[in-house]
Symmetry: C2
Subunit: 364 residues, 2 copies
Amino acid sequence: MSSIPSVRPLAEIRTEIDAIDAEILRLINRRAQCAEEVAKAKIADGEQGTFYRPDREAMVLRRIKDLNRGPLPDPTAMRFFRELMSACLALEKPLEVAFLGPEGTFSQQAVFKHFGSSVNTQPVAAISDVFNAVELDKCHFGVVPVENSTEGVINHTLDRFLMSPLRICGEVEVRVHQNLMGHAASLSEIREIFSHQQSLAQCRLWLDRHLPQVKVTAVSSNAEAARLASLDKHAAAIAGVAAAEVYQLPVLETSIEDQANNTTRFIVIGKQDSAPTGKDKTSLVFSTGNQPGALYKALESFAKFGIGMVNIESRPSRQGLWEYVFFIDIDGHGADPKVAEALGLLRANVNMLKLLGSYPKAVL
Amino acid sequence: MSSIPSVRPLAEIRTEIDAIDAEILRLINRRAQCAEEVAKAKIADGEQGTFYRPDREAMVLRRIKDLNRGPLPDPTAMRFFRELMSACLALEKPLEVAFLGPEGTFSQQAVFKHFGSSVNTQPVAAISDVFNAVELDKCHFGVVPVENSTEGVINHTLDRFLMSPLRICGEVEVRVHQNLMGHAASLSEIREIFSHQQSLAQCRLWLDRHLPQVKVTAVSSNAEAARLASLDKHAAAIAGVAAAEVYQLPVLETSIEDQANNTTRFIVIGKQDSAPTGKDKTSLVFSTGNQPGALYKALESFAKFGIGMVNIESRPSRQGLWEYVFFIDIDGHGADPKVAEALGLLRANVNMLKLLGSYPKAVL
């Protein structure tokens, strides 16, 4: 707008803001009362276990996105309601969520992004322990990493799924960053860069552009790289921020990874199935025999019904020579008629088929 | 309640929740419009620089606490409005806040706790750089650690203040934890514990109770402790979670510090003064001569007017032999008549007096 808008006096605007705040406060508390009532209604219906419903939460957030006319951006409004639902749920029964610790990691970020901050997080020492915690009812849900956009699939998680009765009931993506750290006063003082080979690969373009003449040395881990960099003021390391904190290394450049969308995908595991929301994914694992074209024939089931495949990953099975299992994510919910038909056809063409779960696509 | 409450059907409650959500969404957006109007009114009044007002934010949060009747707990409701104010402010002009990096540290937690998550955080390499960033207008505000409840005062911050024209405009406290980490399958397998002397001291009671027979070795840093622990499955380290992440050490026990209230206090530095809110602190630094009783006489100024002293810290001045400067936090705002009188009296009894700022006491 080029015209100068007429404005009310500051005091008048603030009086309106105070009135709005009081009304928002009343409404969020009224919403919390309703949530308590929902919990009671569920208990009356004999549904104690299902007080957290990922499908319902996904639909609430998508509705907020549809209704939002601004000026607050959609992600801001959605985060707001994510926190509100989290707080309402915690009133009734705080969710216990296991994750691959320690606290402060990307895994914990994923927990908060999916469940909001009003949950109790239980750090455990290994991916398998996340499964254990949920299988043994020590936690309601678990969050495990399943895929990094640069490093690929996290095999521990897939292997553990083969032995678990747990279901996937959600997914969440978290951005991860690489950083250049060291005691050099400027980039021009750096003579050597240490990092793990994988991290070096993730930052190759940045290094070529900014430090083309500098010696690059691959070491066993980013932790070792940070340690070496801490000993020499002409050395630098590429590593995550935790390493900089541990070695008190100044961060010289942040987010130097070449792929701007360097993300880690996490899945939420639990004991309950998620109802269809209209925008769902289904994860499954199957194995075929060794006859030629077996995988092709299996995948035909999805093509025939026009079902999109999001991911496919093959892993050696531990149960027989030359046998592979395939992990696949497809579009749609197992309760969708087309998906159900495709899965029926697939089942006829494979040795083993296990549905890992249908769940809402990541919303935030 | 012992009687079974009568409950509405689930669908009916959800219909009400959906209606409440739509109304909350409308109100938070209306609030954002009002915030935009406030910014315009301030520009019309020639007040561009003061779009963020720590005093106003503190008063909004305290009012929420006063008005809140639950069922949402006060801290939950206040965090909600903290985020809402942060999001509203970001619409107009996202705040740039410098902090002692890297990202993911307690310092960044302090930034988000004070400003909400809708700010741009700028990690810098040293405490002095936080001051530089604000002094040179690269950032609107900075957040620096000033005191750890176990380790004491952070001297870098106090020393830098002596040379800076910046003002303190807020404070924020963050809980910090110590953790036991290592590859041992259980505590009974641990033969040796490494940590920095200070961290060992923070966990002495816990160690006496749980691992009284284990050899304890002080090393130069918690990073080194974690590295040593990573090499020996019968060793463990006491360190922050970042070290566990860097060395992929399972966290065996979390929060083993003896003092449950192990906190780090941060202050917010900027160029503007904060108006009185009724619950404020004032920070100041002064120096006395070397005559006996000089400090006592200086402090009499506060006693005489019944003003509480929260902290006092002495530091050697760099300007003369045997000269000390004293950093003091007192209750009240510099604009309060009693505080103003006490400061006037103090000024007459000291060689140098510098007011660092009056600001609202930490709210969350």
